[in-house]
């Protein structure tokens, strides 16, 4: 299955990410986010960060989770190369996510070609996985 697809958007960045499970779709959404800024397939997985966020619903969880990709790049100079062990748990009135980000520090070896300001709710879709494919759609402010 295709991991994600970048879609046209007048002012900013838009993509759909796919997965057989919601976890896989979230994982691919993180990679799609990275793909708008650098080529994650070329980044060596040398460093890892444990990521944990909570959200009041799946949409907020997604905004905060993808926000980690930007936050770690800006504050830890970390370029995402992959995501492992992503788990989503639903609690009474909120959702939690846990994952490990793998990647490397910014250096001359890697080309960064764009910046994302923030992940938005605009046009966001998180479709259920009933028919074996879960689709997530996100617009980011660039």
């Amino acid at each position: 299955m295709e991991r994600y697809r970048i879609l046209p958007h007048t002012a900013d960045g838009k993509f759909q990410a796919f997965g057989e499970t919601i976890e896989e779709a979230f994982t691919n959404a993180a990679l799609a986010t990275a793909s708008l800024m650098w080529d994650w397939t070329k980044v060596e997985p040398k460093v890892r960060y444990a990521v944990r966020v909570r959200g009041r619903d799946l949409e907020q969880l997604l905004v905060k989770f993808l926000g980690e990709v930007i936050y770690l790049m800006e504050t830890r100079r970390f370029l995402l190369a992959g995501v492992s062990g992503l788990k989503i748990e639903q609690e009474e009135r909120s959702y939690g996510i846990e994952a490990t980000f793998h990647g490397d520090e910014i250096s001359e070896r890697y080309k960064i070609f764009g910046g994302i300001k923030a992940v938005t709710y605009n046009d966001m879709r998180i479709e259920d996985c009933d028919r074996g494919v879960c689709t997530i759609q996100v617009v980011v402010d660039m």
Partner: protein
């Protein structure tokens, strides 16, 4: 949706359904065609439904679809019954433009164009993931958030005269650095004094046309060929984080039920959360003022070094085009203080307003409207008419019409560079992909945007400047 043409450049969505006020769109028939391509009109209508909105939900000629509010949206809210919304300011808080004049002519700097640009490129960090030149402590960062450009001037970046010629004198005193999250501070520390990427740029330009020689003279523009410098950037990751944080906090506190668009989430202006957002936003505004102040200082340094002098490199003005501010305006013949949201719109105060620097008060506030990369930019003049027509606001730039994705398919950064070089424009960037994304053809026609502003009288033409050297993040 009903859209009624009021006059040549004015369209109205009459009050209907949940709308508390009508929505007015300022555009020519041609610009309206672009505007109709996306959800701008729906967004302008949604804004008209928000509590405490005054008079009209306005849309400027360069409008395009945004998040919640349209880009180019202007809305003013009552302080007692109204709201404040991070979506009405945007993620890049105090994204804005600074314009400096010089005594140089295009002919004088022509031969040194390459060298100037190369030196500026060395001096001013730009692009994604580039740290600033100073490693800040948290306590210094908080001082900057409280004092804005004033901090920069106290630390020898520029002069007090620069403050005089900056919107809010480079500092909104309502800022509270303590209401920012750790994450916002963390993102702010490495990025102070950086240009960033996307549509942000630093240009040196030449005056190519003067429309209003009296106003131009007041602003220090005297002749065609005179060199100016334009800096377009904002509050970087710190501002983006403030917006994200307060959208989340407002969602958690007030819920999202009944919102036509989640990015329209808001808080009553007087509520604790409304005040915390307002004060954090002001801190981000101050950060952006300090940022542009530092960059302007480095540009002067480079000019002094390469050309021998930075004499006469005075600041014309510095405007914010993503902001919510407390201003006095008349609504139904009563003057009162309102919270004016400008998201991709420039304040356009006419003569006499106390907020306009003393040196300009007899003519009005300079309004700076940057074009897209490699195209003309404009200096306009605020008007008294804008007070009635748009809560003293006009356009802020060209506005995209083509996606980055499409631009990447159609254009090559290196080719754009060569094409600009053929027209005598030097271009340097941290990313050729970024250059392709910002191709002029991906933007609205800036000439048409400012023509409409001028015709409407919400911002009058003073001078047109064309790029000579462009540094893109």
């Amino acid at each position: 949706m009903d859209l009624v043409r009021i006059d040549e450049n004015t369209w109205e969505i009459p009050k209907q359904g949940e709308m508390r006020v009508p929505a007015v769109i300022y555009a020519s028939a041609r610009l309206l065609q672009d505007i109709k391509h996306d959800l701008t009109l729906e967004q302008a209508r949604n804004v008209a439904c928000l509590p405490g909105i005054q008079r009209v939900s306005y849309t400027m000629p360069d409008a395009h679809q945004g998040y919640g509010f349209p880009i180019g949206g202007v809305a003013a809210f009552d302080l007692d019954d109204g709201i404040i919304s991070p979506g009405g300011v945007g993620y890049d808080i105090n994204c804005g433009v600074r314009l400096l004049r010089t005594e140089y002519t295009d002919a004088e700097i022509g031969p040194k164009r390459k060298e100037l640009l190369a030196e500026i490129f060395k001096e001013v960090p730009a692009g994604v993931g580039k740290g600033g030149v100073t490693k800040l402590s948290r306590s210094v960062l908080k001082e900057i958030l409280a004092k804005g450009a004033e901090w920069a001037v106290e630390n020898d970046y520029g002069t007090p005269a620069d403050l005089e010629r900056t919107e809010e004198r480079g500092r909104i005193v309502d800022a509270d650095p303590e209401s920012l999250s750790d994450r916002a501070l963390e993102r702010g520390i490495p990025q102070l004094g950086t240009l960033g990427a996307g549509n942000h740029f630093l240009e040196f330009q030449k005056v190519v046309e003067i429309f209003d020689s009296d106003a131009a003279r007041t602003f220090g523009i005297h002749f065609e060929g005179q060199v100016t410098i334009m800096i377009h950037c904002g509050s970087r990751g710190l501002g983006h984080q403030v917006a994200s944080d307060y959208i989340e906090l407002m969602e958690n506190k007030f819920g999202i039920a009944g919102l036509p668009d989640r990015e329209l989430v808001h808080a009553p202006f007087r509520s604790d959360l409304g005040q915390r957002y307002y004060r954090s936003m002001c801190a981000a505004v101050n950060y952006a003022f300090a940022n542009r102040q530092m960059i302007a200082h480095w540009v002067r340094d480079v000019f002094a070094r390469v050309l021998g002098s930075a004499q006469g490199m005075d600041q014309i003005y510095d405007v914010c085009h993503n902001v919510a501010k407390l201003e006095r305006h008349r609504v139904r013949d009563i003057e009162k203080q309102l919270c004016v949201h400008r998201k991709g719109a420039t304040r356009s105060f006419g003569p006499g307003r106390p907020e306009v620097p003393a040196a300009y008060r007899s003519v009005g506030q300079p309004v700076i409207i940057p074009g897209s990369m490699g195209t003309a930019s404009y200096l306009l003049l605020g008007t008294a008419e804008a007070e009635e027509k748009s809560f003293s606001s006009t356009a802020h730039g060209a506005g995209r019409i083509m996606s980055r994705h499409e631009a990447l398919k159609r254009f090559r950064g290196e080719r754009i560079r060569d094409e600009l070089a053929g027209r005598g424009i030097e271009l340097r960037s941290t990313s050729w992909k970024g250059v392709a994304e910002e191709a002029a053809a991906a933007y609205k026609d800036i000439d048409e945007v400012v023509r409409v502003s001028h015709e409407l009288g919400i911002g009058r033409l003073v001078a047109k400047v064309a790029p000579v050297g462009v540094m893109k993040g």
